[in-house]
Amino acid sequence: MTATLEQIKSEDTYQINGKTFTSRLLVGTGKYATNELMTQCLEASGTQIVTVALRRVNLDNKGEKTLLDFIDPKKYTLLPNTAGCYSAEEAIRVAHLARATGISDFVKLEVLYDEKTLLPDPIATLEATKTLVKEGFTVMTYTSDDPVMAQKLEQAGAHAVMPAGSPIGSGQGVLNPNNIRIILEKLKCPILIDAGVGSASDVAVAMELGVVAVLLNTAIAHAKDPLKMAHAMRHATEAGRLSYLAGRIPKKLYAQASTPIKDF
């Protein structure tokens, strides 16, 4: 019981498809005002896994700096996403393109259904998960917080299941902690909260539920001061995790004195 904070943190690892990580905060690389700011925020967040996207090269900006000039793939595990894909076929294509870079065989699989909610298409998501797992990808699948769907994804071989706390970019936090609790009870694979967190307290709530990690982007990138928020998110992730490991006291209806009640 005398372990230092550093000892506790270094021993508290988790694995995704056999790869070990200590940081429980995954950070996106989108929406930052500048790439320099993004680099500073990633550093401050302590993250080890960063999400990236794939898009067409701008033919009119020859020789411009690319994302990889700002992110060292030796330092971070790149988690390419399939954001913006609305069919299993499209998502599988993007995953193939990502792997063809030779940098990562991880994929954050998201197959969306509609633009307003950015909710996933469960049927296409399941289909794409099955295919990409068979093809040897490390598949981390974005899903809604439906416990049945989460189980189906695990059965399909997903290496991590990532329910949204609330809609992508909405900053509403974890809206249905009970569903997350059920998912945690039913599944054995790593569960991450992906999307919806807005503040450090949202992250702490998610971590206290017992998820292995939280993935976020907008909450840092669009904070008034992204760098401060990156620090805050790191601390919140660690605080939430430690709180989960420590085990909270049960909630009670009535007061219980903290000071011994004795005769003076």
């Binding site: 990236v52 996207a53 940098i103």
Partner: protein
Amino acid sequence: MKLLINGETREFPEGMSLEEVIKQLGVRKETVVAEVNRQIIHNEKRADCRLSEGDQVELIQFVGGG
């Protein structure tokens, strides 16, 4: 020959290879993934990949995303 590159029609000399097209466009080859008619062409195969009229070329790279 006319090629459709990232959705834009561009004119190139007949029989150019994918590698030459990427070089002529000034795109950094080491950070780009290329598809020709929806088939991924890996870096080491680009010099052998001769393009022809109407080929659809996609040049893709990592960008920021969540």
